[in-house]
Symmetry: C2
């Protein structure tokens, strides 16, 4: 359907997969991690910094861009790629998760046709339907658009999860139809200025209930999306529960299409999910935690503000090849963080994103060499061990 | 005295001078502008961003680094160059100006021997004497250290200005003696871990009173510093008054040594001061105003948050070759600024510093070609004209 979008697996190793996702804006080596550019900017990073740490694809939030500066404005200015000066592959989420996660604050009211809420910026009333979410994403013009879904909280009863999952399936049909309509005739969408080539992913819901996940997967896959996301996880459930839902759900998805685990997660969770056959991830952890002074290392996270680093001239992670580790000591980064320097956020984010992207790179290598299980074992062992030590130190 | 420090004039054009300042950490082409790295970081910029915009020398604040993380700690960690990963030339101010400018907030108490004040961080009591200010700067190890001076406010009576200027002269003698003592035997300074090669500049005071400036210049020059700064300006006096004090004072300084106008200023003030023979400048304006959304252009400053830029896909300054102007529109930068994105501060700072450093480069070229007066006239005319238009537009 979309000639510019394709996905090819090049290696498998147990459940883990290595592949290439091709889009009109370039290729993404999978498994891949997508830094989150909430408002069309990965917070403390410029696009050239993102390239420098090895980012190949970026996620932007439909909800935030819809409210400000507005999807019609971005379309007038030539689309999201041009607006944010990110020439590589780009994915927009559906806006649904943001609305649900901001919850009470937005006075969210969900009905079968969509979601009503108040803007977190000025309290103004807004409504998002599946059609609206698609129209907005087509105007933004990212390479991958997501269907509009309802994200179930944790814990919920199986009845609540079923009702929500079934609504998501109805929204999936609306989302898919609307998307295909604009792909066939993009110029007929009011406010469109360009002709983006986009793919669209479906989202599997169903909470922690295997039969609901199974139903959701079967029905969504039948709608023939370009890829499939596992949604509704990392919302408070124990890590083991998430891991088990991911591995069961991934098995229900078409082998030849990309699988995206939304909003996950901690480094060891990424490794587990890759073992289950997941190809794409996004999460605010490396960027948000960087701004709060938490640095990820292969030995576990460290808190840069800890007094133990005051005179430490070692880099955040000895052996790391990122710009931050090659030039700056823990003592300096601690000083910048305590001084509320803007450069602290930038330097910490460079390291954390480099760590996440380098971990993905190492997983891809291990899969190609057929040594993913060995990598996984070594990673989990090293990561956990130092983590405990370091937390004592802090 | 310091074999690694030298200054050579290569061209003069009327009063304007072009030259090369050589230090142990590299060469600075003058006239030069020094970005301000208050706490050992130029705020929203990494050292590689600074290199990229053409910065050759950076200023750091002795007062801030003394309080946090402490000069002895920085010395233990290998000195300020290594600490902040700036391998190029570095200048530290005396700490005096910060104390005076923070004034009441610090409960400043000045006597003939030095200054007592409370830390702006935690209210703790501190005292800085000329000897202390030199010891701290030797431990920091910048290529250029400043003598400790008292900065007179504006307006003051000529009697007050005289008393203050005479105290500064006594402090100059103390500063010079102390500095030369450590240069002869750096290892004897407690806390020293390295042997920095530093130059020291004297500071001319005397407010807006020609006879006081003359006296201050004659006495300070007699102490044989490696260069001379004009202090106590840009503290509230009218621009014309400053301009006249600068040109009179510059004429009193040795032709063959570098002249540094402290804390100045707006782009057109820099051009005027270069015409009067000034070689070095520092100012927080390009970096601070960038964070507040003010962008300098050759047509005058613009406020990026103005509604007029909401749909403007032009760069901040058409024709500018900086990373920001090459990639981002006013509409995007406005969006980032209104969204309080950290990257807004970085991208705005890149442009403003590029503008300042490029203006210095264009002045150096004009001096080399003997066309500085022509440049100055064209600059002032263009800069002022658009400035008025734009402020109406905003």
């Amino acid at each position: 359907m979309n000639e510019t979008f394709s996905f090819h697996l090049t290696h498998t190793d147990g459940g883990a997969r290595k592949g290439k996702l091709s889009t009109a804006h370039g290729v993404v080596d999978t498994p891949a991690f997508m830094p989150v550019g909430t408002r069309g900017s990965v917070r403390a990073m410029t696009p050239r910094d993102l390239r420098d740490v090895g980012a190949q694809v970026v996620l932007a939030n439909t909800y935030h861009l819809f409210l400000r500066p507005g999807d019609e404005r971005i379309a007038r200015l030539g689309g999201l790629h041009k607006f944010m000066a990110w020439s590589g592959p780009l994915l927009t989420d559906s806006g649904g998760f943001q609305v649900f996660s901001l919850g009470k604050r937005l006075s969210v009211d969900i009905d079968d046709e969509g979601v009503s809420f108040r803007s977190h910026l000025d309290g103004s009333k807004h409504r998002l339907t599946p059609d609206d979410a698609i129209d907005i994403q087509v105007r933004l013009g990212a390479d991958i658009a997501m269907m509009f879904d309802e994200c179930t909280a944790f814990p919920v009863s199986s009845d609540e999860a079923r009702v929500s999952m079934e609504r998501t399936l109805r929204w999936a049909r609306r989302s898919r139809e609307r998307f295909l309509k604009w792909q066939a005739a993009p110029a007929s969408l009011p406010g469109m200025m360009t002709t983006p080539t986009q793919a669209q992913f479906g989202i599997i819901q169903g909470g922690v209930f295997p039969s609901l996940r199974e139903f959701s997967a079967r029905e969504t896959v039948a709608m023939d999306f370009d890829g499939y996301a596992i949604g509704g996880l990392s919302v408070g459930e124990p890590s083991g529960v998430m891991s088990s839902v991911v591995s069961r759900t991934a098995m229900l998805l078409p082998v030849k299409q990309p699988r995206y685990l939304m909003g996950v997660g901690m480094p060891d969770e990424l490794v587990d999910a890759v073992a289950s056959g997941v190809d794409l991830f996004d999460c605010v952890l490396p960027t948000r935690n960087a701004r709060n002074g938490q640095l990820f290392t292969r030995f576990g996270p460290i808190s840069i503000k800890a007094a133990v680093h005051a005179d430490d001239d070692a880099p955040p992670e000895p052996g790391c090849t990122c710009y931050t580790c090659q030039h700056f000591s823990r003592a300096y980064l601690r000083h910048l963080h305590l001084s509320n320097e803007i450069s602290a956020a930038t330097l910490n984010t460079i390291h954390n994103l480099h760590f996440y992207l380098d971990t993905m790179r190492r997983m891809r290598e291990a899969i190609a060499f057929g040594s993913f299980d060995k990598f996984r074992l070594a990673f989990q062992r090293t990561y956990a061990r130092r983590s405990r030590q370091e937390f004592q130190g802090d």
